[in-house]
């Protein structure tokens, strides 16, 4: 599972969520969940529908504020952070239902991802001094590089995102997330809608991301093959609570987990 290029897996946690609870005025979506994601690891978050996984993601990225608990990115407390600030600190994500900017081309979408790393302000945008022009050129070039890296074909780079086929849209979303030069990448059901071959390719790709770009990855997944194949650790949520955590094989055999999944079929 590991290659020679795998960066030193350290015990340092890139992300640590401590006793996170989210209460929506009566409905407890997430209850006392603690997760930590070691640097350069790939951790999966699984659980039946409604278990609170996306809600947890939304808290990690600042879209929701936890009712209780603390979130640490490295040494920094980001519990009450604004989403754009958290992105600047190095957290990027994709969405369960693809959320590309339909009115922009694939390249422009990825350029948006780079927003926090660019410096052009109002006057820079109007007067375009050489520094700004260079920044634009470089951002555009980098965006094209990233699109190629995620496997998009050149001809579609300048097509409107809304007109791309589903698989390509998923790729663009990942490229867009990568454009913000994150430390931690959150992927929300990246293989949704994919066939087994595509899922396998994505699994390989995630490892490649981790190894080549020195990323840490936290993903929400339903496809057990992917989960088992790529994760070093799996955390299981059910009804908002963490019911199991550990290496994939262990979690798979956990009776509580089995019941949570099977029990739901009644």
């Amino acid at each position: 599972m590991s290659s020679l290029d795998t960066p030193e897996r350290s015990a340092v946690a890139v992300l640590r969520a401590e006793h996170i609870t989210k209460n929506f005025g009566g409905l407890v979506a997430v209850s006392d969940v603690s997760v930590d994601v070691p640097q350069y690891s790939i951790v999966s978050l699984i659980g039946p529908n409604g278990a609170g996984k996306t809600t947890l993601f939304n808290m990690l990225t600042g879209l929701y504020r936890p009712t209780e608990g603390r979130i640490l990115l490295g040494e920094r407390d980001i519990t009450r952070g604004r989403p754009d600030v958290i992105t600047r600190y190095g957290v990027a994500r994709t969405f369960q239902n693809i959320r590309l900017f339909g009115a922009m081309t694939a390249v422009e979408n990825v350029m948006i991802g780079h927003h926090t790393r660019m410096r052009a302000g109002l006057f820079g945008s109007i007067f375009r001094p050489p520094g700004v022009r260079r920044e634009e050129r470089e951002t555009r070039a980098r965006a094209r590089e990233l699109l190629a890296y995620v496997g998009l074909r050149e001809p579609v780079f300048d097509q409107l995102a809304s007109q791309l086929p589903y698989g390509d849209q998923r790729r663009v979303e990942i490229a867009r997330a990568l454009a913000s030069e994150p430390r931690l990448l959150l992927l929300d059901e990246p293989t949704a809608g994919m066939n087994p071959r595509e899922s396998q390719a994505l699994t390989e790709f995630m490892r490649q991301l981790r190894d080549e770009l020195k990323l840490t990855i936290l993903l929400i997944e339903h496809d057990m093959k992917v989960v088992m194949g790529v994760s070093e650790r799996v955390t299981v949520l059910d009804y908002g609570k963490k019911i199991a955590e550990g290496p994939p094989a262990e979690v798979r055999a956990d009776p509580g987990v089995i019941e949570a999944y099977l029990g739901r079929q009644e």
Binding site: T61, R82, P83, F95, R99, I112, M118, A120, L160
Partner: protein
Amino acid sequence: MSELRAQLREWRAAVQKRLPPWWSRALAGSLIAIGIVLPFLFSSSSGFMNATIIAVTYAVMSLGLNVVVGFAGLLDLGYVAFYALGAYSLGWFGSGFFFKEHIHVLVSPIASTLQGVHLNFILILISAAIICAVAGALIGLPTLRLRGDYIAIVTLAFGEIIGVLAVNGQSVRIGSGGMTLTAGNLGISAVDAPYFPGIGSFSLLDLRPWYWLIFAILLVVLFVNLRLRDSRLGRAWVALREDEIAAVSMGIPLVRTKLLAYSIGAAFGGMSGAFFGTYYTVVNAGQFQFGFSIFILAMVIIGGLGSIWGAIIGGLTLGYINNYLIPDVLNGLPSHFGLNFQLTQVEFGIFGFLLVIMMVLRPQGLIPERRRRLELTAEIAAGDAQFMESPGTAGGAT
């Protein structure tokens, strides 16, 4: 009907393939050249030139509102507030209104002997832009967390409040010695005409300098718009418009970006307001009604929401229709049909009708924004359902 549309699209694509790559630049260049030469084709005080001057000013305003509604997707129904503030900037800084003061900067020899604050028109333009930029940010501030329709209502309310202030300003004292904030419905009259050292003062007997002045302003505003559209900020605006949650998750700072949209849009409105102030030679509260906000909005929409050239076309079109076609050309039309009214009386009914027709038949406007075809689906809105703070909704949890 859709076969016809498909056919038209085919023809357009075929034509575009045959054009050389520089065709749009050449077109723009020739339009600008025509614009510069236009006044020579008409007498110096023709009704058509008057309508053109007004139409071009509307185009500038339309470009301003296009930044707010078109680029950033913030439905501002109170844009008349910036027209008012721009015009009052002129009334305050370019007339004898503040009669206790004696401030003169680069004004005509005659004006420098008068009481009041008299600044050079360019300085007034700059102050109008600054005042409106600040006002725009203040008006935008309460709307930051609101959804589309609510933004409309809040901005509308602000527009009305500014209108009330304009009317009642004559009872609001400024400083000592009897100066007031505005002159209410009586209006601040005897405002300065623009003056440039070497060219002299403008006069309404010769409309040409006025035209070139507003045309120059249009070119500047157009330039800024083009630069902004294709910049980091412009992309950020479109992202916020398309999907606020995704935009914010990609690192776009919501507050700063939205406020910039309001401010810049407002500044353009202020500049054109200042021009109107001096061109109409009076600034009175009656000029600033809600209907005007809708009028400018109609220009942006009919032109094509978000499209720069669309905004200009929309501004020119409605400007001509309103100030030339209806009053001068078609006014007698209903009488030809034996109807007992003049066309000017149904002006805003016509605009209302145009708005409805546009929305139902061609919501993307005459010149759709290159970046978007107004998608008639609620896809993104459905996606938002995922992020509602209230639980228990379809698709709302994983």
